[in-house]
């Protein structure tokens, strides 16, 4: 794969007419895709009065960072940012740990009732907080976890899909590797930590990245389980609290970009892993 890319860059093909046409189409389509984000960025750099002027215009006449400043000073944004980070990091860590263990357990160990439990987990693929919102809320309420970090975190930590993805991956690891280690006297856990986990690193990072994205962007569950603005996560706080003060568009766009930017930055750096991760998880789902 890498060698192929290297060779291709070295013997770069000349600009053929069809490549020129395709590239122009690509630029046009990309412009359409980027336009809303650019519009949001430009709006966040306008003053509030300019942002709600009629007719609207794309570029600010007076460039100002006022919206960003006042958002930072008056809002709970720094709080929300920390909340988002705490929730997403905890969810990602817990999901990685429990789904790696469960995926391996289902793929490579035997225990009573395994196939029944596996069937139950598969059925769980169809259940999301959107489907179970109200009963899940009353359950969490009974446990006294409304308006707490745990209430936001734990219900996101049982993703059947991630277990299924890792289960598929672990099934593909050759048994001989493990058996050799068993013969050498290693136990189950040792084999898991020294052989299986390192082999699974690409799959684990895909699962981790997707869990992080999903958790950072999760709106519905934190929306249901928190009323306290101090506990809200980024997407949640910006959508509910900012709207309730009457919409200030420049601030709203600045806040939206603040909530969205971290993942876009992550994507720029981890593009290769994310694309491979999508490919992997996507193909594993078949």
């Amino acid at each position: 794969m890498t060698t192929a890319t290297v060779i291709r860059t070295k013997s770069r093909k000349p600009w053929t007419p069809s490549q020129i046409v395709l590239t122009l189409i690509g630029v046009a389509v990309s412009a359409v895709f980027v336009a809303p984000i650019a519009a949001a960025l430009f709006t966040s750099l306008k003053s509030e009065t300019e942002a709600s002027e009629i007719p609207p215009h794309w570029l600010p006449e007076v460039w100002t960072v006022q919206a960003w400043k006042s958002l930072w000073q008056t809002g709970n944004v720094s709080n929300w940012f920390v909340n988002s980070l705490v929730v997403s990091v905890c969810v990602t860590t817990i999901v990685l740990a429990v789904s790696a263990l469960a995926g391996y357990g289902f793929a490579r160990t035997e225990f009573r009732g395994k196939s029944v439990l596996m069937g139950v987990v598969m059925a769980g693929l169809m259940i999301s907080p959107a489907v179970l919102g109200v009963p899940l809320f009353t359950t969490v309420q009974q446990m006294g976890m409304v308006d707490t970090y745990w209430g936001m975190i734990l219900p996101q930590c049982a993703p059947a899909a991630m277990v299924y993805i890792l289960y598929k991956f672990f099934q593909g690891i050759p048994r001989e590797l493990e058996e050799a280690a068993f013969i050498d006297g290693a136990g189950r856990w040792r084999v898991f930590f020294t052989i299986v986990v390192p082999l699974a690193r690409p799959s684990l990072s895909a699962v981790g990245i997707f869990t992080f994205i999903a958790s950072w962007n999760n709106f519905l569950w934190p929306y249901m389980v928190t009323n306290n603005p101090d506990l809200m996560t980024m997407p949640n706080g910006i959508a509910t609290v900012m709207n309730s003060y009457g919409i200030q568009w420049a601030q709203l766009m600045a806040g939206g970009l603040m909530a969205g930017l971290p993942l876009i930055v992550v994507f720029v750096f981890f593009q290769r892993q994310i694309v491979a991760g999508v490919a992997h998880t996507g193909l594993a789902g078949q």
Binding site: P36, I37, L101, Y104, F111, M126, A259, V275, G285, Q286
Partner: protein
């Protein structure tokens, strides 16, 4: 002489090795439960238990506090079947799904073909088409709410329109569909892109030698090779679209939209549970919704199995 001895010994040794391995594997039996226990614990508390609890609550007239609920049998389900607001909400979710799924599938395929065939700047196309997917749903919703707002929004301004996107019931759902296409097509695009990269080059080279033109190559190689991924994209999109909620409520300022026209099934369920405090009734709707989703998922599995058997 030695060779024949070796051939006799080798299988025997292999047999003992497998036997030892089987024993070892059996020793691992009791550990197996511990591997899956943490996940199953969370899964039982936050998925299975709420599902069972929802099933129980759906036969009661429970309110949000959970106190003083009495068993009312199938009344909630009977009421739901005659609740036109529920059917409307279900209709909106279904209508949204019918609009979004075909559009996203075609668009994702076209974008992936484009990104796959342009030789330069691959990372740039990937970034542009995928970036919206990385935005939280509320942020995407707010951006497009602003773009679509009459008067101050850039959408009408740019295209020279006067459309009341968010305040007229004939446009509101369309506005949500456009937002959703922009926001989520990136994920399916990456699935298609990965699948395109997985098609072996030699298939195309062979076809070229046989004189197949670009159109033939697409119809006879690319599309058949992408059949599985298309099935996956459609299935994931149907399940995700039926659960419409986030972007719709954000774009409509947490209202059910003009003349209730964008109220989705999830939104109606949550309204019943959290605004009208009718937890029993909302639970009945959750169970109905779970059954709908399960039917869709099972239909997909059934179709896949039939196609596999038909193919063989």
């Amino acid at each position: 002489m030695t060779t024949s001895a070796q051939t006799v010994i080798a299988p025997a040794r292999a047999r003992t090795a497998t036997a030892t391995a089987t024993v070892r594997r059996k020793q691992g039996f009791q550990h197996g439960g511990w591997f899956v226990a943490p996940f199953l614990g969370l899964f039982a508390v936050f998925v299975i238990w709420p599902l069972l609890r929802g099933l129980y609550l759906s036969f009661t007239d429970a309110n949000i506090s959970g106190a003083g609920a009495s068993f009312i049998g199938l009344d909630n389900y009977r009421e739901a079947l005659h609740d036109s607001a529920m059917w409307d909400a279900l209709g909106h979710s279904a209508y949204f799904t019918l609009l979004v799924v075909p559009c996203i599938t075609v668009l994702a395929f076209l974008l992936a073909m484009l990104a796959h065939h342009i030789e330069r700047g691959k990372w740039l196309w990937r970034l542009c088409f995928f970036a919206p997917f990385l935005l939280p749903s509320t942020v995407a919703g707010n951006m497009w709410q602003w773009l679509f707002t009459q008067g101050i929004g850039l959408f009408n301004e740019t295209f020279g329109l006067q459309t009341p996107w968010l305040t007229d019931k004939s446009y509101a759902m369309l506005a949500i569909v456009i937002t959703t296409l922009w926001w989520t097509v990136g994920f399916s695009f990456l699935l298609y892109l990965a699948a395109l990269q997985g098609i072996p080059d030699h298939l195309y080279e062979a076809a070229k030698l046989d004189g197949a033109n670009a159109w033939h190559r697409m119809v006879h190689i690319t599309l058949p090779m992408l059949r599985n991924i298309t099935g996956l994209v459609i299935a994931l999109q149907v399940l995700a679209s039926l659960q419409l909620f986030d972007q719709a409520v954000v774009m409509m300022d947490f209202s059910p939209g003009p003349e209730l026209s964008t109220r989705s099934f999830v939104q109606y369920t949550l309204e019943q549970g959290f605004t009208s405090y009718r937890v029993g009734y909302a639970s009945a709707m959750s169970i109905i919704f779970f059954v709908i989703i399960a039917v869709v998922a099972l239909a997909r599995m059934w179709l896949l199995r039939n196609r596999e058997e038909g193919g063989r």
